[in-house]
């Protein structure tokens, strides 16, 4: 996904209902941080997401979505591969709608990243060489394709 496309989708997600924060991380790296907390808190939150993944892994479980409701707000956490998306919102009644929007955002982002990664590792671009052959001779077709990069499974 291009930075412009990402910004546009992110803006749409942030405008979904009562959303007041979005945090996307990949492993220990913060990809997008648009939350009302300082950098230290964001780093600590990423650490907590690690802990959460660890707790569930210890129970041999692998949730793809968590939702918490508090007196002071609500949050939805989505897991997809190494990616974790946290969406903070005020209105608990909007949780399903926000979860859907967040799922679409994460799916688009991860798919976009997979395509971008594929394009980057496929250069020089795939080339096709076709020998035209001559009359009476069966044309030989030689196809040369650059090695393919692994693509993340589709959402």
């Amino acid at each position: 996904m291009s930075p412009k496309g990402l910004a546009s989708v992110l803006k749409a997600l942030k405008k979904s209902g009562s959303v007041f924060g979005v945090l996307l991380s990949k492993g220990h790296d913060t990809v997008i941080s648009d939350v009302p907390y300082g950098p230290e808190s964001v780093e600590e939150l990423s650490g907590i997401l690690d802990d959460i993944s660890y707790y569930f892994a210890q129970e041999k479980r692998n949730p793809d979505q968590l939702a918490f409701s508090y007196d002071g707000g609500n949050l939805v956490i989505l897991f997809k591969g190494d990616y974790r998306l946290v969406v903070l919102h005020h209105n608990s009644g909007e949780a399903d709608f926000i979860s859907k929007s967040a799922t679409v955002f994460l799916r688009d982002y991860v798919t976009g990243e997979a395509v971008r990664s594929f394009k980057a590792t496929s250069r020089p671009s795939a080339s096709v060489v076709e020998n035209q052959g001559t009359e009476g001779v069966v044309p030989a077709r030689t196809r040369t394709v650059a090695p393919t990069a692994p693509i993340a499974p589709s959402v």
Partner: protein
């Protein structure tokens, strides 16, 4: 995840077949349910992990007391709500497991109805 026919518990089998919510209550470190000890134990394990996560996140984000926590894993939804009628010294939790992805709103309102019916 429990599947139909995995168990001899009639209530569990019926709930799995109908994809209906299996309800549990927990207080003072003990969980109770009607779908057998294994199912209740699964709920208790999920409850402990979710509670731990809820506390960590709540403290970090200054969001005060947790009212509900839900997890989705494949086609299973597990979660809990605090019983608002219970005291802070002896909090009671009601929760459930269902073998489908139940919308959050539906899940929470089902648990609340269960709490009110107790």
């Amino acid at each position: 995840m429990a599947t139909v026919g995995d168990t001899s518990n009639e209530q569990l089998n019926e709930a799995l077949e109908n994809q209906s919510l299996r309800y549990f209550r927990a207080s003072r470190g003990a969980a109770k349910g009607k779908t057998g000890p294994e199912d209740t134990s699964r709920f208790a394990d999920s409850l402990m992990v979710l509670q731990e996560c809820a506390i960590l996140l709540g403290e970090q984000l200054d969001m005060n007391s947790v009212s509900s926590a839900i997890s989705y894993e494949g086609d299973e939804t597990v979660g809990f709500c605090f019983d608002p009628n219970s005291s802070s010294q002896n909090p009671v939790v009601a929760g459930g497991i269902v073998n489908r992805r139940m919308p959050l709103k539906e899940f929470v309102s089902s648990i609340r109805e269960y709490i009110d019916s107790q």
